[in-house]
Structure formats: C-alpha cells, structure tokens
Symmetry: C2
Subunit: 163 residues, 2 copies
C-alpha cells in the first residue's frame, strides 16, 4: 500500500514531519516506561529548559520551548502538582509567575541527565547515524530505520547504569 504522505514529497512535508516526530516521541515514551521515571516524555523539555536556563516566568518558558503559552501553563500546573516545580509570584511584577525546579525536580533532572537522556540521545543518534543527501531522503531513511528497529531496540547501555 502506497504511503501517500511520503509520495507527495514537499507538498505534505508538514504532515510528514509531524508524523515522524510523533512516532519518535511515542518510541521515546516507551523507552522511558522501561526505566521507571515518573513523568511523561513530553514534560522533559520543560524540565530541561529550567535546568539550562534557571527559573523563568511562564511566557519566557513558552518562548524557549517554542510552544504556545497555554501549553506551558498546563504543564507547569501538572508538574507543580507532582511536586517537581515551584511557582512564585515575581516581586516586582505581580502578573509574572516564576517557575523553578523544586528539590525533587532538581533530583529528577540530575538522574535523567546522568542515566536517561544520554541513552535516548544515543538511540536517536544511532537512528540518524548514516543519513546523508537531500532532506526527503533522510526522512525516508528515518522512517525506514524506525520501522526496522524502534528506539528501544537501539538502547546502548552506558557504563555506570542504574539498572
């Protein structure tokens, strides 16, 4: 059965990128489910942003993640509920709510940085190892690569693992 999105080339590039992205995220989620971490894959970019940039108000967090502000508000509420984030009113502007990692959040990020993220990064890098040529060919290679061996089959055990 012909894959129409693939056949249509540049015309459906958006649909195709989205579809590949979703599959990668789903794969990464499955991979996280194996390691016993307590939050969804989709929440890690937010945690990583706070780790990299320090405490930020909601709007700047949205900007640094490239997503819309309501999405950040939702994720922050969720992660604060889980005790991973702290939210404080800014002193000089009562509208701003400054988001920062809590102690638990800090610990989770440190563990993830040491044990989890490198594995995912390795798996994805493995998937993309031999890419070359035009973009559409590279995307085809990614799709075929994912079909042949999903991310969790590309896990390399780093030394000093927690497992």
């Amino acid at each position: 059965m012909e894959d129409v999105i693939r056949s249509l080339g540049f015309l459906c590039l958006g649909s195709r990128l989205k579809r590949i992205g979703e599959q990668l995220q789903a794969d990464a989620q499955r991979l996280l489910d194996r390691l016993d971490v307590p939050v969804q894959a989709s929440q890690y970019p937010l945690l990583a942003a706070l780790d990299r940039l320090g405490p930020l108000p909601v709007g700047e967090l949205a900007q640094s993640l490239g997503i819309a502000q309501p999405g950040v508000t939702r994720s922050v509420s969720l992660l604060a509920e889980l005790g991973l984030l702290e939210v404080n009113q800014s002193n000089d502007d009562q509208r701003r709510r400054i988001v920062s990692l809590s102690g638990d959040g800090r610990r989770l990020v440190d563990v993830a940085k040491r044990d989890v993220w490198p594995r995912i990064e390795n798996a994805v890098a493995d998937l993309c190892a031999d890419l070359s040529g035009p973009l559409l060919d590279q995307l085809t290679a990614i799709e075929d690569g994912l079909a042949a061996a999903p991310l969790d089959r590309r896990l390399k055990e780093p030394e000093g693992t927690v497992q």
Copy 2:
C-alpha cells in the same frame, strides 16, 4: 532567548520535527485561506490519497495515510457531509465502506492540483532549496528559513493562475 529544543539536538528530535511540521501546516493553512478553498489543509492528504489510489475502504485509506482508522472515519464523515466524498457499501463484503470522490470532490481536487498544490509545493521546495549537510543542520535551516520568510511569502505565481 535560547531555543532549548534546538539546543538539545537528537534528544528532542521528535519534539522538534513535530514543531516544524505544525508550523509548516499552519503556514500552509494561512496560504490556503488566501485562495478561497473550502476545506482545511489537514483534509487534503485524504483527498490526495483518493485521487492517487482511487476509491478505497476506510481501513486502507487509514493505512495509506499513516493515521489511525478512527481519524479517517471522522474526516470521511466530515467531507461526505460537505458533499465532497461518497461512501458506498462494498458489494462483496458488507462490512467495508468504499470511499470515493464525488463530482464536487473530483472538481475540487482538480482545481487544487492545478492551482493550489503546485504553489504550496513550490513554496516548500523554495524553503528547502539550499539544504545540505547533517539532518540537524537542515532542520535549523528550515526553522531559520520559516522565520525569515513564511510560506506565504514564498508563493510563486504559476502561469495560468485563477487569481
């Protein structure tokens, strides 16, 4: 403001692809809004599939689009409501519902193929024209290109246009 998804490289490749895909789709939607076509950008892949492959049952349509069957059922209901699709029981298997373009659907697709899709394809091809090198660099180039000139600024007027 640092773009965290971009900085994280392969670790967030899924998020990044999804984000770029969504932006491309949103751009394409804006571009369609200018031309006066009556359906959402997201419905065109389904119409294109029927155009390329001819009448298909729901399941095979889902497979050719790479999405789940309930999504196709929903889109088909919508487009049939608009009079663009016909749905007929298969003769040899009463479970199958064969989806095909109606007269109006056929006409819409023909217009789109002549006047709309080439423009979008050109705009996206223009965006991707000078890509080379590793995937992440190409993605960066796409993001930068979209920021510099969104798709609707890349419209090339084909000859024989309807406008």
